[in-house]
């Protein structure tokens, strides 16, 4: 039942939802003032950044589960999520650089969020470098999980400290209580549409990636688990 939901219903829902969200992002809202059509990057950039954070959180939770219970499935999920997190972080970085070029005149200026995403890219790049260097499956799982959890202590610093130490050009957090300095309502609606769409997309690719990792291991070890 769960598999059927994942492999048949989820892709269809994701496809329809994302198609609608993309159409809405281009048709339902006017260009952001001063940025022209390039401003529409935001409707895809912000969801990518959100999905990368979600994916890294999923990876960390599964690393903790792996260290606690040592089931190889948790390690599979951690790897799949970390890989997707890296992919979406790259998409967010590149799309953000084009936005920055248009809005602020430079591709890169060490804004706190830019600094944070560079740290995340380096952390998970190191995570995969560590995995690639270890042959033994169990040891690879344990050491990579430990590294992933240790890396988590940087998170409060990325969220609270780095923004205070560095100057920011990023727009204010778009969700604020009184709505001042936030987004126009219809734009917020589009952002919510694309964010849900990207989250569904992540869940779908994640389920495929986990299956792929499991099947590859079964083939490589020449037998069922």
């Amino acid at each position: 039942m769960r598999d059927k939901l994942l492999h048949t219903v989820l892709p269809v829902v994701t496809g329809i939802w994302l198609a609608g969200a993309i159409v809405a992002a281009f048709m339902a809202v006017p260009p952001i003032s001063g940025l022209g059509e390039l401003g529409r990057i935001a409707w895809f950039h912000i969801p990518s950044a959100w999905v990368s954070v979600l994916a890294f959180a999923v990876a960390t939770v599964n690393s903790i589960i792996y260290l606690a219970r040592r089931g190889i499935e948790a390690d599979d999920r951690a790897v799949a999520a970390a890989g997707l997190g890296l992919l979406f972080a790259l998409i967010a970085t590149i799309s953000g650089a084009f936005w920055a070029r248009r809005a602020w005149g430079v591709f890169w200026n060490w804004d706190p969020r830019e600094a944070s995403i560079v740290i995340l890219l380096l952390l998970y790049g190191a995570y995969f470098a560590l995995r690639a260097a270890i042959d033994d499956e169990r040891r690879r799982g344990v050491l990579a999980a430990a590294y992933n959890i240790a890396a988590f202590i940087t998170v409060p610093y990325l969220v609270f400290v780095v923004p205070r130490v560095m100057e920011s050009l990023h727009p204010d957090p778009v969700v604020n209580a009184d709505g001042s300095g936030g987004m126009a309502g219809d734009m917020m609606g589009v952002l919510i549409l694309t964010t849900i769409g990207f989250t569904l997309l992540f869940l779908w690719i994640f389920s495929i990636a986990v299956r792929y990792i499991r099947l590859r291991r079964e083939v490589l070890h020449g037998g069922a688990l």
Partner: protein, 243 residues
């Protein structure tokens, strides 16, 4: 390892099966003393990182050639020298045990947390020794004037504690993965980036003569990182050590 050392170890280290409260501290002290004794006999780790720091400092000082730099550049260079020196030397503590095969003896004779505590203290002493040696040279060679010496020293001490804690954890990961050198910098650097950023900004303020009250945010940031790093290390060490 000489007879006297092994006798001392077998006398003070409690077996892993029964961990009494006093036993952990005694075992950690035994690991620390063992490492200090190895270090005093060969001098390899301190000499390596000290010479590496000197070389880096010489390259920088040579290139600058007597010009006076901005405080932010001075602070960045100081932490660059300290970070790279640590990345050369601190992985040695566990990698050496793996290379010589003595890691098995450690497994048999000492509790995991005692091993970690001993090794972390050793790395901390190593880094403090390096900082004490290299900082005066740095100040002299680059003609740096320190506006608030007390704050400057506090920042150095807190920063080095976080550096030593994370380096020790990454060192054991490297050793258990049978890896040597290059990956250490790759693994340690991203985790240490926030602490380096805070340390550089705080040091910049201290060089400019900011009073303690203005720099206290940086100090608590560094202290918090050091505390988190030590806590996470103690939580993660047992599975790494046994897995």
């Amino acid at each position: 390892m000489s007879n006297s050392v092994s006798e001392r170890d077998s006398g003070t280290v409690s077996p892993a099966a029964e961990p009494p409260a006093g036993g952990l501290a005694a075992a950690a002290r035994a690991v620390l003393i063992k490492d200090l004794r190895c270090e005093l006999r060969t001098g390899s780790a301190l000499l390596t990182i000290f010479l590496f720091a000197i070389v880096t400092l010489t390259v920088v000082s040579w290139g600058i050639g007597g010009r006076i730099l901005e405080p932010v550049v001075q602070a960045s260079l100081l932490w660059t020298v300290i970070y790279f020196a640590s990345s050369v030397g601190l992985a040695r503590t566990f990698v050496r045990e793996e290379e010589t095969g003595t890691i098995l003896v450690l497994h048999l004779t000492a509790e995991p947390l005692a091993v970690l505590a001993g090794k972390m203290l050793f790395n901390l002493l190593l880094m403090l020794a390096l900082t004490v040696l290299i900082t005066p040279l740095f100040l002299a060679l680059l003609s740096v004037s320190v506006g608030a010496p007390g704050v400057f020293l506090l920042l150095l001490a807190f920063g080095v504690i976080g550096l030593a804690a994370i380096s020790t954890l990454v060192a054991v990961i490297i050793a258990r993965a049978h890896l040597k050198g290059p990956l250490f910098g790759v693994l340690a650097f991203p985790i240490l980036l926030p602490v380096l950023l805070i340390a550089v900004r705080g040091t910049e303020q201290a060089l400019g003569g900011a009073p303690l009250a203005e720099v206290s945010g940086y100090l608590t940031g560094l202290a918090g990182f050091a505390g988190a790093a030590i806590t996470v290390s103690f939580l993660l060490f047992p599975p790494i050590w046994e897995g």
